[in-house]
Amino acid sequence: MEASRTAAHQHQFDSAAQQYEASALGMWVFLVTEIMFFGGILTAYVVYRSLYPESFAHVSNHLSLPLGAFNTVVLIGSSLTMALAVHAGQLGRRLQIVVFLALTMLLGSVFLGIKAYEYHHKFVEGLVPGPLFTYEGADRGPAQMFMCLYFGLTGIHALHMVIGVGVLAVILAMAWRGRFSAAYSTPVEMSGLYWHFVDVVWIFLFPLLYLLGRTT
């Protein structure tokens, strides 16, 4: 996206184009760090899954497939609204940016709400790892390991979503105040990259946690 030469830029840059390129590269490098971050716990998942395939498959049935699937649709929908917000930003349409960002935040919050409900349900079922774990099967250890990974993976993902919603709130406020134009909507675009990334992580988590080995 070519920025206008007359667009303002911060003093350390020589041009708006350089500033934009730097921002984009910076965000991509940041997303690479996030891949490494999630990669660590995904490695733990892969290791333990290969050690206890039956237990993992069996316990994953305790997760609610309808809720997980619904959440997946919600999140993909939020990526759509986010993409529309970025597009609106590139066209400089202030009101559209605001509306689509608000929708994205709304869908993100729906996702988080459902997640909270799922967590509560696990608590009630006695499937929260630690002293409150009441599962009585013979494979208690591996079952608890699955739930540790479930809470670990979805919890860290949820934390990223909360941060994402917070960031979008700030971008929305900026948009409301008319800070963006066709020449400059970089923050919208960068937060869009982040949001899409968080969505893609969920696209990995959903099958790994909810779908593999499901029998019900």
Binding site: E54, A138, D139, G141, P142
Partner: protein, 324 residues
């Protein structure tokens, strides 16, 4: 005090000399290259020291052959070291088949040792000279490490699994035993001795020790805990026949195969539903928490000692290569 200054450990095992030879080669390499670099630096610095603030040295062109040379040659040297050390490592990790088994449980902050014949020790391991000894070890709590410097052996000791290390002492004597993986307050107190004795003295020491043999203790537990009920060895029993199972490959219900080593036997007792044998139901009770690590070692010693009974007509397939 200086007279007693130790500069080198004793060579008290069959592998010590091999390890030391590699060490000396590396030492020679280190001394050679360190001196070479130091010498070159000093010689160049002095010979080409700056004589006036304005002097401008003549340009030197890079030389690709030189660069390749001092890349490839060190690489080849390191490959020699790699292969040599792999050979030493292979010796360190392959215990002879007739090694004497000894069982070790590490816990904060002591070593519990059990000999097959029943002798028990704390922080000491008596072994015969000239005979390979193989330690099967586990930890009751955190990670420890069994280290005997004079034998050049060291092996981490982990909770929830077995690790093994072997050695053959070559001279009688008392050799330091150290815990080498930090394990808390008394880590530096978790030390003791490996005492190597001439074979005759060792037999005498064994005989003098009181205590039930591991196999006999294991047999008692096998009956007390009710193992014999399901693992009776009769056809149609609820649990697989354990006679001769140690060291064999076992077919699992999941379709995989597993080697029935000490680790598998231990797991089958503390976590029986993990890898169930094909053709049997997952109904074995979980014994984790009911038996201690030392009792587990006794049970395993017993199971290892169970001989194959006279085979009935419809026998299990014989192992490949056996003569029948």
């Amino acid at each position: 005090m200086l007279k007693d200054l130790p500069l080198f450990p004793a060579q008290a095992s069959t592998v010590a000399a091999e390890v030391d030879n590699l060490f000396f080669f590396l030492l020679g390499l280190t001394v050679f290259f360190s001196l070479l670099i130091a010498l070159l630096l000093v010689v160049f610095a002095v010979r080409y020291r700056r004589r006036s603030e304005d002097e401008r040295p003549a340009p030197i062109e890079g030389d690709l052959r030189l660069e390749l040379g001092w890349t490839v040659i060190p690489f080849l040297i390191t490959m020699v070291i790699f292969v040599w050390s792999a050979v030493v490592y292979a010796r360190l990790t392959r215990a002879p088949d007739d090694a004497l088994p000894v069982f070790v449980v590490g816990k904060q902050w002591m070593w519990h040792v059990q000999h097959l014949e029943g002798a028990r020790e704390i922080n000491e391991v008596h072994v015969p000279v000239g005979r390979a000894v193989r330690l099967t070890m586990t930890s009751e709590d955190v990670i420890h490490s069994f280290y005997v410097p004079d034998f050049r052996i060291k092996q981490d000791v982990l909770p929830g699994r077995y690790t093994t290390v072997w050695f053959e002492a070559t001279r009688p004597g008392r050799y330091h035993l150290f815990c080498a993986e930090y394990c808390g307050t008394q880590h530096s107190g978790m030390i003791g001795w490996v005492i190597a004795m001439e074979p005759a003295e060792y037999e005498a020491w064994l005989a003098g020790g009181r205590g039930q043999s591991l196999v006999s203790a294991g047999e008692e537990l096998f009956n007390q805990l009710g193992c014999v009920t399901c693992h009776s060895g009769e056809s149609g029993s609820r649990g697989p026949n354990l006679a001769g199972v140690f060291g064999k490959t076992v077919q699992l219900a999941s379709g995989e195969q597993v080697l029935a080593d000490e680790g598998y036997l231990r797991e089958s007792i503390v976590n029986p539903r993990a890898r169930v044998v094909a053709g049997f139901e997952p109904v074995m009770p979980v014994f984790k928490g009911t038996v201690s690590e030392e009792q587990l070692m006794q049970l395993i010693a017993y199971i290892k000692a169970l001989e194959v009974a006279a085979a009935p007509a419809a026998a299990e397939p014989q192992p490949a290569g056996s003569i029948r």
